[in-house]
């Protein structure tokens, strides 16, 4: 077990593509860290550099305090699980799991013991003599995990290990991976572009985009205090709503009406360089059916009336969709997010998603009076996507 430190690590491919720009990241011993981001943002490249499968162009990588830039993968004592599982087709499950141990020239008895133990943990004992071709996707995935854990390596690296499984199995395996990691306490770097996996699995999440780290933090921090538009839109499902907003005297003019500026927002906007054109972000759960809001709450928010497009009743609560007329929020970051269909769950631009209590009586087609919590809004600078409402707090970057 060991900590992993990336110190200004960059990757430039021979064809000139810079896939990773000066990444700084400290992964503590035993930590479960997730790299998440849209396709092509450099997650696999980063992981492969930690593994030693790709050379590091500049910067330093330290594992357990030791510089390993020039060490071959086999000398780094790290195990990796691949999206394709990469099981050796000519070997049985047993031989697959024993392979790293055999290469390490361990005693035959020790190998049998370790493989047996891993098979027991992963419930593969009945399949030890099968070839990978005769296993189901979930079983293959577990064999791949088994091959990684038999060695008790310093760290696990996993590159989208669950993305070839169907939705239900993915949820089950997610739990198993999490439990296994807690049991073993091995430092784990896990790549995914599924933000649910990112939020549920990791101790900390690293959001990447275009080869840069956007934000590092525990899942709740990323959700509550995103440092920029990209993180705000990427994390959360359904995604945060974004509206164009203009500062006018003491009001924030938006398609939902003129919102009063107070408390948090006033501080953010008082800065001399605060822009006049903004993007307002608010999560679906920060809306409520106005008739259900208690009086002492009501003052903290803003009420508006709008025609309901669609009501989706989830039992525990209701998703209510509205159409918003007027100016759309627009910025390069939002376009990037919309382009990545796999990750972010962005609603169409003119649609507002709200999550109301199950008791709400709003109906399709009728007008509804909705309350929004002004304490929870975020304001972003459209030019660079920065969250200006965070400036007075201790923003974690």
């Amino acid at each position: 077990m060991a900590d992993i430190v990336l110190d200004k690590v960059s990757k430039k491919y021979p064809d000139g593509t810079v896939a990773v720009h000066d990444i700084d990241l400290e992964i503590a011993d035993g930590e479960f860290i997730i790299l998440v981001g849209p396709s092509g943002c450099g997650k696999s490249t980063t992981l492969n550099m930690i593994a030693g499968l790709e050379d590091i162009s500049s910067g330093e990588l330290r594992i357990a305090g030791e510089r390993v830039n020039d060490k071959a993968p086999k000398d780094r004592d790290i195990a990796m699980v691949f999206q394709s599982y990469a099981l050796y087709p000519n070997m049985t499950v047993r031989e697959n799991m024993a392979f790293p141990l055999r290469l390490a020239k361990l005693d035959k008895k020790v190998i049998d013991e370790k493989v047996g133990e891993a098979a027991r943990v992963l419930e593969l004992t009945d399949y030890l003599d099968r070839k990978p071709a005769n296993l189901s996707g979930g079983q293959r995935q577990r064999v791949a995990m088994g091959r990684a854990i038999v060695r008790s390596p310093k760290a696990f690296l996993m590159d989208e290990p669950l993305s070839n499984l169907d939705a239900k199995l993915r949820v089950q395996m997610r739990t198993q991976v999490s439990r296994l990691q807690k049991q073993l306490g091995t430092t784990t770097v896990y790549v995914t572009h599924d933000q649910t996996e990112a939020m549920t699995l990791g101790d900390r999440v690293v959001v990447m985009r275009g080869g840069y780290i956007q934000q590092v933090g525990d899942p709740q921090t990323l959700y509550d205090r995103p440092v920029n538009l990209f993180v705000a839109g990427f994390i959360g499902s359904p995604a945060m709503n974004f509206l164009a907003a203009t500062v006018e005297e003491d009001k924030l003019r938006t398609a939902l009406g003129d919102l009063p500026i107070g408390g948090r927002t006033r501080a953010a906007l008082s800065g001399a360089d605060a822009p006049r054109q903004l993007i307002l972000g608010i999560r679906p759960e920060h809306f409520e059916d106005a008739s259900l809001v208690e009086d002492h709450q009501r003052a903290k928010g803003y009420e508006f009336t709008a025609p309901v497009d669609l009501v989706e009743s989830m039992g525990s609560d209701k998703y209510v969709y509205f159409t918003v007329e007027g100016e759309h929020a627009s910025s390069a970051d939002l376009e990037d997010l919309a382009a990545d269909a796999g990750g972010a769950d962005l609603p169409p631009q003119d649609s507002l998603v709200t999550r109301l209590s199950a008791e709400s009586r709003v109906r399709d087609g009728a007008d509804a009076k909705v309350w929004m919590n002004l304490d929870k809004i975020h304001l972003f600078d459209p030019s660079d996507g920065r969250n200006i409402t965070l400036t007075d707090e201790k923003a974690e970057v």
Binding site: K74, A79, M80, P89, E123, R130, K131, A133, N134, Q172
Partner: protein, 314 residues
């Protein structure tokens, strides 16, 4: 979850799946036959007649120099050929050429395939230049080798043995023949092997290096097993081809000094000696040997595909 699975899978699989499988397999086999049928019919129509006719000729005494002596003599020709030293010498020479050239070609071809597979810059150029020998007509290439090895005029003969005449001594002539074979067909081998290399997923090699395998271990424990079917195809093609070697010998040594292959002596008996009976017998024997080689390879193929030994879910 998997506790359920453990109980469910073996219980459900054994009785149910067998029935379903044999049903599906029958269908599949039928479709397979149907799809092969046109090709198989054409093949039989084209090849069956000459084969049957040579078998028929091989059972007769039939020398065009003495046509009136033609007579059905059963297996006598086979006894004559198989008890003859010339035949066995030629058979030995052929086997020697086959084994050495195919082995060397496999090793060189693998090396070449690895290089072509790895090269990133000028890939097209590397591949094209490697394939040039295969593109040259064998007889033309053989003549250029002959001139090269002819004392006095040939640059190689002058270089290697200024006083001797390498093509007139048995050992050196055979070595030159084998060399010409290897030079010519290594690219073909490399091409087939490269197709096999493309079958090895990158992730598999990455996984092996993470598991601690050195380059050689990755090659022998991961690449070779996955490539095995492609290797067997390449070996089969080349072995069959090499066993029928004719043109290089014909041009380089003309079979002098006991350098004839079986195809050479069959040709000599048929075309030069005009002995249709003996010549056909030799052809049939060559045919049988080739068939046996093919059979052995096909037997090996059967277990070559990964996971095919108990391949249910492929």
């Amino acid at each position: 979850m998997s506790v359920q699975e453990k109980v469910r899978i073996p219980a459900q699989r054994t009785p149910k799946k067998k029935v379903a499988l044999s049903e599906g397999k029958k269908q599949e086999r039928k479709l397979g036959w149907l799809l092969c049928a046109p090709a198989a019919i054409v093949m039989v129509a084209v090849t069956a007649y000459p084969i049957i006719y040579s078998v028929w000729l091989s059972l007769q005494r039939y020398d065009l120099k003495f046509p009136e002596d033609r007579e059905f003599i059963g297996l006598t020709n086979y006894v004559t050929v198989l008890s003859n030293n010339y035949w066995w010498t030629a058979f030995g020479v052929t086997a020697l050429i086959t084994v050495i050239s195919v082995t060397v070609e496999l090793i060189l071809g693998m090396g070449l395939a690895l290089i072509m597979h790895k090269t990133l810059v000028g890939r097209g150029l590397v591949r094209t230049s490697a394939l040039i020998p295969y593109g040259i007509v064998t007889v033309v290439a053989a003549f250029s080798w002959r001139y090269a090895w002819t004392p006095g005029t040939g640059y190689l003969a002058n270089l290697v043995s200024p006083d001797g005449a390498p093509l007139t001594e048995r050992a050196s002539a055979l070595a030159i023949i084998i060399f010409a074979e290897i030079w010519k067909t290594t690219p073909f081998m490399a091409l087939l092997l490269m197709a096999g290399l493309a079958l090895v997923p990158d992730d598999l090699l990455k996984a092996a290096s993470m598991d601690g395998a050195s380059w050689w271990q990755r090659f022998t424990k991961v690449m070779l097993p996955v490539m095995k079917p492609a290797i067997l195809v390449a070996l089969l093609f080349r072995t069959l081809d090499a066993f029928r070697i004719f043109d290089n010998i014909y041009v380089l040594s003309a079979g002098a000094n006991e350098t004839s292959s079986v195809s050479m002596i069959a040709y000599n008996n048929l075309m030069k000696g005009l002995n249709l009976g003996i010549g056909s017998t030799m052809s049939v024997l060559i045919f049988l040997t080739v068939a046996i080689i093919a059979f052995i390879f096909v037997k090996l193929f059967g277990t070559a595909a990964p996971g095919s030994d108990d391949g249910e879910r492929r």
